[in-house]
C-alpha cells in the first residue's frame, strides 16, 4: 500500500516553504505547481472511488476513467484562478502549463514508489512521455485561452470543448501505454513528438495572430 498523502506532504513541504520565501511570478509558479500536485492527489482518490462504484478493475479504471477525472481536476485550479483573480491571458496560459507540470511530477513520484527505480531507460521514457503528455494537455487548453476566444460565453464553451480534446488525447495515450512493446513505445513517443511540434510551431502560432 502506498501512503500517497505522506509522499505528497514530503514533496510539497519544501515548495510551500519556497512560496513563502519567493516573490512575484516565481511564487505564483510554485503555487500552481503545488496546485497541480494536489490535483493529482485528489484525482487518484476520485478515480479510485469511481472505479469502486462502477466495479471497474485497475486497467479499465486507468484507461477509461482516470483520463476524464485527471483532466477535469487539472482544470479546476485554473478555473478558480481565472474566475477569482481575473488574470491576463498569458498568465492564465502559464497557470495551465505549471499545473500540468506539477501534476506530472507527482504522478511520476507515485509511479516510482510503486514500481521502484531500477530501470533507468524505461523510467526515462516514462518520465519524459508522461510529462510531455500532461504538458500537451495543458497547452491545448492554454492555446484556447490565449488565441481563440474573446467573448466570455465563447471562452466557456470553447474551454469545455478543449477540455474534451485533452481528455481524449490523454485516453489514447493511456490505452497505448497500458500495452507492452511497440504500442507502449509509440504511446510514449506521441506526446514527445507533439511537444516537439508545438515548440517548432510556437513562433508560427504567435505570428499567425488568429483573427
Amino acid at each position: 500500500m502506498t501512503n500517497i498523502e505522506n509522499i505528497f506532504i514530503c514533496i510539497a513541504a519544501p515548495l510551500i516553504i519556497a512560496t513563502i520565501v519567493s516573490k512575484g511570478r516565481g511564487r505564483r509558479m510554485l503555487i500552481f505547481m503545488i496546485a497541480g500536485m494536489t490535483s493529482c492527489l485528489l484525482s487518484s482518490y476520485i478515480s479510485t472511488f469511481i472505479a469502486a462504484v462502477q466495479g471497474a478493475d485497475l486497467i479499465i479504471a486507468s484507461i477509461e476513467i482516470s483520463p476524464l477525472v485527471e483532466e477535469i481536476l487539472k482544470l479546476c485550479p485554473v478555473l478558480f484562478f481565472i474566475l477569482v483573480f481575473e488574470p491576463d491571458k498569458p498568465t492564465a496560459a502559464d497557470a495551465c502549463e505549471m499545473i500540468a507540470i506539477g501534476f506530472a511530477t507527482f504522478e511520476n513520484v507515485c509511479f516510482l514508489m510503486i514500481n521502484g527505480a531500477d530501470d533507468i531507460l524505461s523510467l526515462a521514457i516514462r518520465g519524459f512521455g508522461t510529462g510531455a503528455m500532461h504538458v500537451v494537455c495543458g497547452s491545448i487548453i492554454a492555446f484556447g485561452l490565449l488565441h481563440l476566444w474573446d467573448r466570455l460565453w465563447l471562452r466557456a464553451a470553447g474551454t469545455v470543448a478543449l477540455l474534451c480534446v485533452a481528455v481524449t488525447y490523454h485516453g489514447v495515450f493511456n490505452v497505448l501505454v497500458s500495452q507492452t512493446g511497440a504500442p507502449m513505445i509509440i504511446g510514449f513517443m506521441i506526446p514527445l513528438v507533439t511537444t516537439a511540434a508545438i515548440i517548432f510551431l510556437r513562433g508560427r502560432i504567435k505570428s499567425m495572430g488568429i483573427s
Partner: protein, 240 residues
Amino acid sequence: MPVIESTDNIIQLFTTGFCAGLSAYRAFKTGRHAWVLLFFAAFVYFLADIYWQLYLVFYGETPHYSYIPDAGWYACYLFLILLVNDIRGRRDKTPYNRFLLLIPVFTVGMCVFYLQFGDFIGNILAAVLMSILIRVTVDALIQCKRRELLKNDALHTDRNRNGLYISVLVFCFAEYAAWTTSCFWMGDTFANPYFYFDTVLSFTFLIFPYALKSALKEQGKVTDGYEDRNTPDGKVAQND
C-alpha cells in the same frame, strides 16, 4: 475483432484525419479562426475514433464505459456550433422562425427513445448539443434565404455559406440515423444500415473543408464575426 466495424472506423479515421490535416494547413496559411475551429472539430473526432479502434484492437471489444470517446464526439458538436456561429457572424435583428421550435421537439423525442437503451447522461448531453447545433445551423440557413429574398448586397456571400450549413445538417442527419440504426443492431454485416450512415457521416468530413473555404472566400478581410471582435481602432478587443 469485428472486421466491418473496424473498416468503417478506419475510413472515418482517414476522413477525419484528412479534414484535420487540411484545416491545420489552412489555419497556418490564412490565420483564420474558422479553420482552427474546424481543425479541432475533426481532430477531436479523429482522437475519439482512434481511442475506440485501439480499444477494439487491444481488447477485442468496445469500451465498457464510453466516457472518453463520447467526450470527443460531444466536443466535435461543440466546435461545430462555434464554427457555424463564427461564420454566421452577428445575427440580424429579425424574429426567430417559429419552425425552429420543432427542433427541440425532434431531439427530445429522439432522446426519450434512446433512453430506453440506457446511458442517461450521455443521451441528454447529446440531445442538448444536437439541439443547439441544428437550431443554430437552421437559423443561419433561414437568415441566408431571407437575405437572398431581400436581394441584399451580401447575396453572393450568403449563397457560399449555404454549403457549410447544409453539410453540417447532413452531418447531424447521418449522426441521428446512425444512432437510431445502432439501437437495432444487426451485427457486423454489410446488411447493417448503421455502417452506411456512418460512412455518410465520415464523408461529410471531406466536404467540410471545401464548404468552409467557399464560405470564407467571399467574406473579405472583415466579416460580421470579426466586426464583433474588432475595436474602432482596428485592434482586436480583449476580454468583454
